[in-house]
Subunit: 199 residues, 2 copies
Amino acid sequence: MKIIVIGAAGAVGQAVVKELAARHEVISAGRNSGDIRVDLSDIASIEAMYQQVGAVDAVVSAAGNVHFGALAEMGAAEFAIGINDKLMGQVQLVLIGQKYLNDGGSFTLISGVLSQDPIVYGSSASMVNAGLEGFARAAAIELPRGLRINVVSPTVLTESLPSYGPYFRGFESVPAAKVARAFSKSVEGAQTGQVYSVI
Amino acid sequence: MKIIVIGAAGAVGQAVVKELAARHEVISAGRNSGDIRVDLSDIASIEAMYQQVGAVDAVVSAAGNVHFGALAEMGAAEFAIGINDKLMGQVQLVLIGQKYLNDGGSFTLISGVLSQDPIVYGSSASMVNAGLEGFARAAAIELPRGLRINVVSPTVLTESLPSYGPYFRGFESVPAAKVARAFSKSVEGAQTGQVYSVI
């Protein structure tokens, strides 16, 4: 398969590339690095990425920014970050990408454990992650030509505990390699409309 | 209790007013009718509503627009309708309203069955509804002074079957009065961070 991995330089993205590159042609994409540069918050940038890569069999996203902050101090601007980037950026990967995927191809997006299991400072992330999961369940029943869509929802990465550990006290962490296997299950399996919770 | 009901003129809103007005002081609000006019997509309008009403014990929302359309034909503009109105409009009711609620007060928002159980043309609604549920779970653990937040997630209303029935074939409908009891449970109970699914 020919697979684009967006966010390939991140902790999850690197593990996904490692998992999939052994068996497939992987094209890495990212904001500041990779075979192709793409900014999820910019529709023209997403369209340009697809035009450059051409027809693909799978689109994998391990990318998306969201603002973390106290509920009492957040307003429209802080919520707009996650809406424009992690939420609508990934939705646009599907809206635009449905024209570029080969028959039977797949989209695999990333949400996160906060959709179900919140932390302090995470209200925007919880909203964005849950929204992505709802979108994927719905898009799955409308995509044409056997196209599929799933979401991987990981908890905090073991590799990220040095920086994010204090916000996730008591959460079991998972290694990025385990999260990558959920992406493999989505890309190389046949299910659609699923949320793969990796916790 | 002093309670604002936003979307009071809608099918759910009317039933909620009927349920709560027997025991409480209800102030109705809506885009085109009610004691107070409010446009959920306009932050200044929400702020003005709260300033006009002053301190309240409960904020109930049975309002929010979202675009229904084919996944293949929707773009940023169509998704922005639901994001700016039903999703962020209700989020702003909380972000702004947390300053106006009396200690121990509650927010009750509305999502819908599509968050979990999608229909064709409903990808934006599924995203918005699920996002609201994720937001409420997270906001519940940060709200100060004993403030609470829950979401009511109704399936298609029996009263709406003449217009929406064809889109919800096979779904069991519920009367608006049953949905109103879930709002009562949120407002007059003591739970927080819950999604009351009325299906």
